[in-house]
């Protein structure tokens, strides 16, 4: 009797499940009545049973649900109440695959803290370490190349031309005040790890170089440093190549040092008052920089003027540009809040999104290169969080590190690589970002 009463008390909502996923994930779009107190789990169960009805050997898997472009993160009736959506009409619920890592790989062990990582090339992962070596890791977890030469900890790494199949150029920045360029062949060497020496050393900074970024075309790189400047460097590919040849020649003669080709700064962007902690170069003629002087600047590469000056109020550690038409700025710094600005809006001093689930400084933030909504953040509290702009809560929290996470990046579009103070590079894969 009581049970019957309860069931009658429950409100029911007419809902229709839609999706943009491919056919095996398509459920019948007929509207069904569902109890209004369902949460994500309940909705997921319904969708899975719908799919199972159409396909008997369906393996149930979790889904995430969007109503009017916002993720459902509470029970359905609470959500409708909070958003002021009528429960009378048929509710259209879009379901997407849950963005969460489903597989954890064996961590790649380093000798010291992992301070930088770049996953923009799908064939390998480039990491920078506090022992001064850069490392190239294959997917299988083996270190194929070691980039030797820096005399201080590496602070930033960047793959200059990830699309090129052969002769991939990498840039590393270090606390020894230099930026070095390396060239690595993609094929696996016979005796790994193969030691690689820089083909170009960029001297010009008077303090630790904190960040490095390459132009999309791959002709130039920029670096931000503790001396408050951003230097632009030319990658003279042809001469570099010639140089590399000479390197190979002279390697035989064991005269390595002579081969090193020193580069001069093309130009210097002056304007920041403190350490330039992060630079990104998303378009050909403009680059963005974040600094400890609490500002984010956009620079015109040609003129050397800053086009935009955003004031955030906190010392910034990381910056990335991406999202909707690659123009949203995400930055994190000396507080636990990840902020996203939209520079296209007039009067853009206030961030449009603030994500504040971390407990400590944010050390890295990266947009997903395919999705407009997804970005990740790494923090000193040891967590890597995946965010979606459509909800204020993290989509998933990766807690693989035991101490501070210093760097993190997407890899191959479905994995997250992160390195930290525990000297491990953790890889979490099978994240289904559509």
């Amino acid at each position: 009797m009581e049970m019957d009463g309860n069931i009658e008390e429950e409100r029911r909502i007419q809902a229709r499940f839609v999706t943009k996923l491919k056919p095996p994930f398509k459920a019948p779009t007929a509207s069904i009545a569902i109890p209004s107190n369902l949460t994500r789990l309940g909705l997921s169960t319904i969708v899975n049973s719908l799919l199972q009805a159409g396909n008997p050997d369906w393996e149930s898997q979790p889904f995430d649900f969007l109503i009017d472009g916002e993720f459902v993160r509470m029970s359905l009736d609470q959500f409708l109440l909070a958003k002021g959506i009528s429960a009378e009409k048929i509710l259209e619920i879009e379901y997407v695959k849950v963005v969460a890592p489903r597989k954890e790989h064996e961590p790649l062990l380093h000798d010291d803290w992992v301070s930088a990582v770049d996953g923009s090339c799908s064939q390998f992962i480039l990491t920078g370490c506090y022992d001064g070596f850069g490392r190239v890791w294959k997917a299988a977890g083996l270190c194929t190349h070691v980039l030797e030469g820096h005399t201080g900890p590496i602070t930033a790494v960047n793959i200059v031309n990830p699309e090129v199949a052969d002769g991939i150029i990498m840039a590393t920045a270090s606390k020894d005040q230099t930026v070095r360029l390396w060239k690595v062949d993609a094929e696996q060497p016979t005796n790994y790890p193969a030691k690689v020496r820089a083909f170009k050393i960029m001297r010009g900074h008077n303090a630790s170089v904190q960040s490095v970024a390459a132009q999309p075309s791959g002709n130039m790189i920029c670096s931000g440093s503790w001396d408050c400047t951003i230097n632009l460097w030319q990658i003279d590919d042809s001469s570099a190549e010639g140089n590399l040849v000479s390197t190979k020649k002279r390697k035989v003669k064991n005269e390595v040092d002579e081969s090193l080709f020193e580069g001069e700064a093309l130009s210097t962007l002056v304007g920041h008052k403190q350490c330039v902690s992060s630079v990104v170069w998303p378009q050909k003629d403009s680059l963005y920089s974040a600094s400890s002087d609490h500002s984010i600047r956009q620079w015109d590469v040609e003129t050397g003027k800053d086009l935009l000056n955003l004031f955030s109020g906190k010392a910034l550690n990381c910056l990335h540009v991406g999202g909707e038409s690659s123009s949203l700025i995400a930055a994190g710094g000396s507080d636990p809040i990840l902020r996203v600005w939209d520079p296209r809006k007039p009067g853009t001093s206030a961030p449009i999104y603030q994500f504040s689930s971390h407990n400590s400084w944010i050390s890295a933030c990266k947009w997903h290169d395919k999705s407009w909504y997804h970005l990740l953040s790494a923090s000193y509290d040891g967590k890597v969080m995946l965010w979606d702009l459509r909800t204020a809560w993290p989509l998933s929290v990766i807690e693989l590190h035991e101490d501070k996470v210093l760097c993190a990046d997407w890899w191959k579009g479905d994995s997250v690589v992160s390195g930290g103070v525990d000297s491990k590079l953790c890889i979490s894969s099978e994240i289904s970002v559509q």
């Binding site: 350490c275 550690n317 507080d335």
Partner: protein, 693 residues
Amino acid sequence: MPKVESSDIMKKKDSQSSNFQFRESEDDYEDYESSGESDAGETESSGHEDLSNTESDDGLEDEDGSEPSEAAEESDSSEDEVAPRNTVGDIPLWFYRDEKHIGYDIAGKKIKKKERESKLDSFLANVDDSRNWAKLYDELEDEEIELTKEEIRHVHRLIQGKAPHGEFDPYAPYVDWFKWDDAKHPLSNAPEPKRRFIPSKWEAKMVLRYIAAIRAGLLKPDEPKEEPNFYLLWGNESTSAERHLSYIPAPKPKLPGHEESYNPSPEFIPTQEEINSYQLMDEEDRPKFIPKSISSLRAIPAYENAVKDSFERCLDLYLCPRVRKKRLNIDPESLKPKLPSRRDLRPYPVTCYLEYRGHKGAVMSISVEASGQWIASGSTDGTIRIWEVETGRCLKVWEFGETVRSVSWNPLPELPILAVSVEQDVFLINTGLGNEEVQKKVKELLSLERPTSQVESGDLPSILSWLQDNKYGGLKLRHFKTVASVEWHRKGDYFSTVMPAGESRAILIHRLSDKLTQRLPFKLRGLPVTSVFHPTRSIFFASTKKNVRVYNLQQQKLIKTLETGLREISSIAVHPAGDNIIVGSKEGKLCWFDMDLSSKPFRILKCHPKDINNVAFHRSYPLFASCSDDCTAYVFHGTVYSDLNQNPLIVPLEILRGHTGSNGRGVLDCKFHPRQPWLFTAGADSHIKLYCH
């Protein structure tokens, strides 16, 4: 047939009463008897009496006339049962005493007398019949009547003077059958009489008469009644206070409490031991009254001190001068200084995000590099560490083996040299940071041409020697006493060392470029504690335990002595503009001196319950901080205005907690980040914490 019978009785009575009436004129009737004509009494009566009588007779006649009709009716209903009725009327029956009949029935026939029972028979009948007492003999009808129970009850009620019928209720509730509320029309429709509206002339006359009488003194108005002169014994004495301007109410005696009850609860009754201990007490301290339990109110003994107490009370009231206390009616809130909201004074350090762990002993001293990228710390475990500020990584460690009292980074960014005081030595260490050019310059600076350079050739050979130190890659200055602190001049060439036990040569100023040392050419008059260079001018602050002395080094003279009034100074810090200094003391007081204002503290902030270990000013933000052994660090806002008329604004902002104490020490050092509003604190718990905004 009760009705009929009752009427019968009535009839009987009537007949009896009529008998009495007629007895008065008995003689006359005898005349009639003699005449032998007795059939028509009516004619005779009519002949004797007047009209009214005849009327009443008529009534009688009617009554009589009704009898036959009744009888006739009865005969109609029950002819057989009822005997023929005597129709003789209301005449004395003795007329028929000697006759054989008793009268005539309605048809005129004689009604014969019945056979008389003999007395004996009647007696026997009486004896036999228990109901015989209720029988009556009816002479008129010549028959016996037996009274029914109902009739007997009637008789009883009559005798008692009640209504004869038992069902009659003389006290029945009154039912007001008149419907008052429904009356549409008034009972009287007469208009209101005029007299209701005009004043009564008669009353006016009476009033006039009274007035005249009162005036004439014939009538006296009532005297006002005297009110009883009671007053509230325990009420407020405000009325009396109003009466006398300078009246001061007597202090009220203490009201009795539970212990004064005659039968107090057991917890109020002192034990025998306590009573004995009272005897040992001083007369003054001894309690006046010892509670005792008494079983009943009756058994309470007289209070032996009653007279004494009231006498003393009177003496108190009489002899003790009472003074009115002047109370100022000031809102305590209004006494608080008007301070700006903390929210408007952001940014300032609030939360601890980073910790620098690695030391194994209390961290005595920290120093931040000029750019804010590195921080150096010295600890009681004998090590110096250099940390990367933003990651918390320990970059370098130097082992000294003895407690490092003070570390100080050269203020020039291009000279990454660390000055460290370890017991009697001051080391100048090359940190190895920076590029090759920097390193070259540093190495050049930290090399000694002559291995042992004598200081000030003449008078100070024994107290100090510059030595090359190969172990740590730098210079060593061997002092003759333990060095407490090392401070750099802003230009990075001069630095001062303080030896608290050094007496006249306690404070030494060294020059790095020349490797020269000179002592402070002034007498200190006190135990030196610490020293600071002025941030812009060639002024030197040296603090002793009691006061701070300000010297001009160029003119070689004492400018000022700041009298702190503190018991023991522990640290001083100079505002970056140079005109204000803060002094922390071991009693937890923080003094702010405005040098232009006075040599007395402008403000004393008493905030720490324990010793202040260090104080610090921020280089660019208007912030200063103090750290103490109570494991907290306080952050204050301190704006110094360029307008000389405006006093500095000092606002306490935040208490930073997080350190744990160890051996009674708390936070040993605090330093601000040179560029960010961040505060580093070094604790006795071997951690360094970074508090960010």
